[in-house]
Each structure stands twice: as structure tokens, then as C-alpha cells.
């Protein structure tokens, strides 16, 4: 320590960020970072005090605790992004303090970050194939990037011309099997004609504590003719003549599942359809069927062939 007329000079600390502070963060989120403070004269600054000051002047005090391998002492700190968007500023201050018998000058380091709103994203599901003119529902789920509770928020559905078709509110609990996806149901009326129609879903949250970006999504649905006839499809195992249940039976846009007797009654309008059967363990079946009245159809399905590509490809 250098002596002098005025007594020993205070030591000067160096303050640095160990990893770069993020340039962007979302409102209200926590930003973790690590600061290292070292003394030019090599003092152990363990136990020293740091202050983190935010733009509102709030001061948070921490202690330098961990020795760093490259010298100096580090503190693991965290700050919270403010609840408003725009540039945010913080300063870390090392107040003048005596450590190890020496006075250390004050020092500081400032850093900034652009604070952004939370983003939201959407899923639209449960879209049925409604009969023309009928009422039907679709499910809409919204998720906030920071997992904000979104219960009670409004979702709205419009048609291609901007006419509102319906609206609904998100439930209070996230959907099971998801992490923070809030779902709601919207009831709509199908157009009075057949065809494929498109609609848009919008979500512009309000009254949330923090700012959020809106989100929107599109979906289509197919509107079908009112059914007039029942096609009764009976599915049996090709080899053993046993009924096959749980088979998805489709006639064009109409569908039903077979019961334990292997029977599905599909209500359809007059017309010619592709009849197809599907279950994971059977070979897909498909045939053309013309429906002019109530009809019964027996179909034999074979177990799905597991293909060993080595066998297939040993030869062309």
C-alpha cells in the first residue's frame, strides 16, 4: 500500500458482467445475470456489497459471495423487466466500502435492454363438418409466452368478409396436457349452403396487467347436405369372419365408428362417395359407393401387413 501525505489511497474496483446482458426481454420477466468485482490490488472482496438500481430508483442490495476462478468475486443477480415496454435501464453500484482494512472507491456499471410485450399464440381445433345451416362449436386455445393466466379473455371469429360469426371466453384453467394453454368454445352457425368455408379467429387481450401482442389464426370447415339415408356398414375380419369394432368408417365427409358388432350407421345425403375404413392395425379399405336410399354394405378387412424393408428391397 502506497503511503502519502494524505494517507493510503483508496483502491479502485472493476465491475464487469460475466455474460452479456440480453438486449431484449419481455415485460415482467426475470433476467438473471452475474457480475464480477475485482480489486486492482488483489484484495479479496468477499462479503462486499453491491446495489442494483432500476429506472424508478428502487435499490436492491446483494453481497459478493462466490470467488471466481479468474480472480475477483462474483454475485448472481436478477432483475425484473418493468411492466411497460420500451428501453429499460439498470445500474449496478459498488458503494465506497472498507474491505480487508482498505477503503475501496465506489464504482458502477449501467446497462439497458429493450422491453417487449408478451407474445401470444393460438390453436384452433374441434372443427367439425357441420350440416348446412346448423349450429356448431370450435375450440380456441391461447397461450401467453410468459404463461400469464388468460381465463375470461375474449376470442372472436369472423368470416372472410369481416362479419362476426361468434365469440367466446377462455376458461379459467389451462387445458389438461398443456402448459398454460387456455381454451374456450365458440358457437357458430354454418352457412345455408354446402362447400368449404374459411373463418378467422382473433385474440386481442385487454385488462391484462401486462402488455400483450394480439394473435390471429385461420381455419376452414366443410358444410354438408342434410343426411337423408343411413348406410349401415358391417366390417368383419377377412380371415376369421369376426366383427371389427372401433373402425373409422367414412363416406366422403360423413363418418361414424363401428361398434363391438362391427357395425357403423353413417347418415348421409344422396350421392356417390368414397367409402373408406381405417384402424391402425388393418389394411386401409376404400371403394366407391352410390347412395340412393338406405343401404347395407358388408366389408372384409385384412390385418395390416408389417413390411420388412429388408425383404422388400433385397429385390427391386
Amino acid at each position: 500500500m502506497r503511503g502519502g501525505v494524505d494517507g493510503p489511497r483508496p483502491h479502485r474496483p472493476t465491475i464487469e458482467l460475466l455474460e452479456s446482458f440480453p438486449t431484449e426481454a419481455q415485460v415482467g420477466t426475470t433476467i438473471d445475470f452475474t457480475v464480477r468485482v475485482s480489486c486492482h490490488e488483489g484484495c479479496d472482496l468477499g462479503g462486499g456489497v453491491l446495489e442494483v438500481v432500476d429506472a424508478d430508483g428502487t435499490v436492491q442490495t446483494s453481497q459478493l459471495s462466490r470467488a471466481d476462478v479468474e480472480g475477483g468475486v462474483v454475485a448472481d443477480l436478477s432483475v425484473k423487466a418493468p411492466p411497460r415496454t420500451g428501453a429499460a435501464k439498470w445500474a449496478i453500484g459498488f458503494p465506497e466500502q472498507e474491505i480487508g482494512g482498505c477503503v475501496h472507491e465506489e464504482g458502477s456499471l449501467a446497462f439497458t435492454c429493450e422491453v417487449l410485450p408478451h407474445t401470444t399464440s393460438m390453436a384452433i381445433w374441434g372443427v367439425p363438418t357441420p350440416m348446412k345451416g346448423s349450429r356448431f362449436t370450435v375450440n380456441v386455445g391461447i397461450k401467453c409466452s410468459a404463461l400469464c393466466p388468460l381465463g375470461g379473455q375474449l376470442v372472436e371469429i369472423w368470416d372472410g368478409e369481416g362479419v362476426k360469426l361468434g365469440e367466446g371466453r377462455l376458461g379459467d384453467e389451462p387445458r389438461p396436457d398443456t402448459v398454460g394453454l387456455y381454451e374456450g368454445e365458440v358457437t357458430l352457425t354454418a352457412p345455408d349452403r354446402t362447400g368449404v368455408f374459411s373463418a378467422s379467429v382473433g385474440f386481442s387481450p385487454d385488462e391484462l396487467d401486462l402488455p400483450h401482442v394480439d394473435t390471429a389464426g385461420d381455419f376452414t370447415f366443410r358444410c354438408v347436405e342434410l343426411p337423408e339415408h343411413t348406410v349401415t356398414v358391417r366390417v368383419v375380419h377377412e380371415e376369421i369372419d369376426a366383427p371389427l369394432g372401433d373402425i373409422e368408417v367414412r363416406l366422403g365427409p360423413y363418418q361414424a365408428m363401428t361398434d363391438s358388432e362391427g357395425v357403423a350407421g353413417v347418415a348421409v345425403a344422396k350421392g356417390t362417395y368414397e367409402l373408406s375404413l381405417w384402424r391402425i392395425d388393418i389394411e386401409p379399405v376404400s371403394m366407391r359407393v352410390k347412395v340412393t336410399g338406405d343401404t347395407e354394405i358388408d366389408v372384409a378387412a385384412a390385418p395390416r401387413r408389417i413390411v420388412d424393408e429388408d425383404e422388400e428391397r433385397m429385390w427391386m
Binding site: F221, R222, W278, I280, M314, W315, M316
Partner: protein, 544 residues
Amino acid sequence: MSKDSKKRSISRRDFVRQGATAGLSGAAVVGLAARETDEGGSQEQWDLTADVVIAGAGTSGLSAAIEAGDLGASVIIVEANYDCGGHGIVSGGRVNLGGGTSRQRRQGVEDSADAVFEYWTRPNNLQSRYTDRDLTRVYADLSAETFEWMVENGVEFLDEAIGPDRRNGRTVQWPVYEELITSYPTRLGSGLVRALEKSARAKGTEILLLHRMTDLVQEADSKRVIGLVTDNEGRMVRIRANKGVILATGGHTSNVAFRRMFDPRLTEEYQTAGEPYSEQTADGEVAAMKLGAALWGTASQTMEAGNWISKTAHIGCQWGYSSLWWQPDSPIFDKARASGLSNVDWQNVILVKQTGRRFHDETDAGHDFFAACLSYSGDPIKKNGGGPIWAIFDADAVRRQEWDPTPPNVDPAGYFFGADTLTELAGRIYNPNQTQRMQGGVLEQTLARYNTFVDQGVDADFGKPSPRYKIQTPPFYAAWSTPILHDSLCGLRVDTRCRVIDLEEEVIEGLYCVGEAMGGFPQHGLGRCALFGRVAGAYAARSA
């Protein structure tokens, strides 16, 4: 290039003096301290010596060892892996050998060597169109005999003659569970290679595991190959071969630089079947090419047929090759990490490139499909290769498929992701080969458009037949579904004795090549690898 030629000139200088001591004495393997003195008095050190030295203890190397041993030669096999078997031990064990085997006769199948030759030289079939007919004749003539030879060496077969040509039959899975690398669903090839390994060892073959051949050693004057250098976990071990060195290193598919010579599209995102147990490193080809060896039959490598590429049958894991379904009981499952989701009905998923865009009918599995997978991904920096292909599906698909999308079925370390919305899913996808981030908006648009095709019953973009299911119900998933590579269908040029031929069409004396590292007879697998292994083993053992 200059690095290689330097290395070569060093070995040339080192072995100039070896010329005088060519034709070294005993067949016996000598100990680590064995030294041989040349006439100049300086010493050249070989750590080990045998008549025949083989690189690779897979299907072809073990076959060569048995044949050479039967003819009285001493044999050392150096094997890079920690255990024997190569691709053979994880293979399905369908062995193609016909021409009138006892098995065929029992099944009432009439066959002959001529019929085999004719079959493998058909011009109207891509796999047989480009074969080297001299090699095909060897295959035809030794086919039946090689089958009986396998039986004599302890390989058990199911009594069958299957496949369109009725020359196939499966081996019986090796009965010792602890000696399998994977057992499920059935890895019958273990019954072939473990039996061959047992027979080779019984006949005196010494197998040095964890010894990777790094170079061949050539005599300066004669250019004869007189040995090889191996790396045994950082230690260099030099092995002298009195009669010949046989390259049985199993092909090149895992070597990205090498495979791209035949097809620039095959960049690093494409995985190789058989990994992570054994790699097809092209070590044999590269070592021989440094000595001037020629490649052969490269048309077979790029023909749009055969088993060099396939659609993943198990998705959401790194290696989803159809018949090789890694299960947690495998001793190397820590490397394979996941089994994948299997039995995929391609109506339940869509396939997208790394951009999040669809590119082809998902139900196709032919070469048009592969070409679309490998097509330009839109990445201005990495223009070659098609980038990762992801299968995108929803909770409804999981239910229909009866999948459990959790580890160890799937590999969250870069090969499987789940999320509550498509935007979130796109943001989560990362993989070393994903060179651009997938944009959530693009993925959403792709799905919205596809779901409309389901409503319309027609895929207006790629003609997927009657798109069946909307992908809409959360959670959503992305599973690695990038096509996987397999066979090496070309390799080093050899003559009918499996001696390696150089670019001047001269034999490189003392050097043989067999198995998938050999070019000219691009049959898938075990039959030809064992057969030509025997040919090389026999000629090497008999050579002066």
C-alpha cells in the same frame, strides 16, 4: 493432398529397406517386441505379424478369416469397434445365396449358378444392370457352396427359401442374449456373425478389438502391401502381413465427404442405418485410394433403386431405419437414446422441411419422395442437402396411433419436440442440422392450408391421396423424419480374386477388398459379403 503425399513418401522411405526382407519367415503371430533387421542394419519395428491381416471383423472379414485359416494361414483381424459383427450383427439376417443350395432343394426350388448369373445381369433391372459380370460370375458359381460353408461353420438357418427368387433364407438369432447388440424385433444377423466369429476364433484367428486401421504399408520397390498400421486407443500398432491384407471395413455411407463424391446432396443431416453400433467410415477405401486404387461400379451407388436410402420407419429418434428398432435393453441404448414412434400411418402426419413448408405427398416412399426430401431447402448458405425433415402431428394422431410420445420412445435432445401451439412448436425445434429457425407463422400457414385440403378431400399442392385428418388438436409434435441412408453399393475395384486394382488397371499386390467396401456387385448385404470374403481369404492364404 500434400499432407497425404507427405505421409506416403515417409512410409515409402521407411519401407524401402523392407524390400530386402520380404517373404518373412513364420506364419506365427509374433509378440510385441518382434523386430526385423534389414540388410542395412537399421531396425524396422513390426508389433505383430500374421500371414493374412484383415481390417474389419464384420460379415466379410470373419468369412475371409475362416477361409484363410482353413487353408493353414495365420490370421489377425483388427477391428475398430469394441466388439465384432459390424452391420452384420444388427442386420435382419436374410442371406441371399442360391444356385441350388440344400435349403432350396428341401423347399423344392430348382436353381443353378447360370440362373443366378442371368438374374444378376438382367438389363431391365436397375440393381443388376450395372453389375460387373466377371464378379457376378464368381458370385453365381460360389453361391450354393457358400451357403453350405456357412452351415458347416455353425450358422443355423430357418428352413425356407423366400423372396421372389427363392434364394433367401433367414439365420437363427444368436441364442446368447448377452452377446447381442440388439434383439428386437429380431436381429437374426447375430446368428450369422457370432457363429462365424466363434468358428474363426476356434480356427486360430486372433481378433484385436479397438484397433482401427489407419494406413496401409507398402514396400517401396515392389509397391506390394506388406502390412498395416492401427490405432489402438492412441497407441500405434503396426502389423506385418506375410501374404496379404484384406480390407473388410464395411463401406463408406457414414463418411459424408466420401459419399458426396457420388451424390452432392448427401450432406451431414442424413444418418446411416447400423449406427450408432458401427460406422461405415470408408477407411478401407481411403487407405487403398492413397495407394492409387480405383473405385468401381459407381453407377450402382446413384441408381434410383436399391437400398441406399429409405424413409424413416421410426420417427422422433436419430436412427429410424425400418428393421433396426433400438430398444432400451440394448447395451448401447445410451448412444441410440430413443426407439422412435413406429408403425407410422402417413395420413396422421405431414412432413415439412426446416422452413415449416410441406414438399411432397407424405404417403410416397419412392425415389420421387427422396428427391423431394433432398431438394434445395432454401438456405442460401447451405445449398446442398435438403435439410431436416420433420413429421408434424397432433394429439389426435397420437391417440389414433396409440403412441406414447415420451422418452425413451422419443429423443428430446434434438429429434423430438412438443408444444401447445404450432408457433411455440416451431420456436422449439433445434438440431445441429437445422440451419435456419422454423418460423411459427409459416408452420401455422402450412397446417391451415393442409387442413383445408382435408375439408376439400384433395391435396392441391402435392396430391396426397384423400388427406384424411386435420392436424389441429394440441399438444402438437415435431419428430425427426429425415430419410436414412444405408448400403454402400460401390467401392474399390477388384479382380475376380478380390485383389484391389489401381487406376492403371494393375493389381496392387498383397491388397484385397471385400464386403460393402468392394465395388462391382451391388447386392444388398450378407450373402455377397460373406462370399467374396471367402474368395479373398482363400487367394490371400494361397498366395506366395
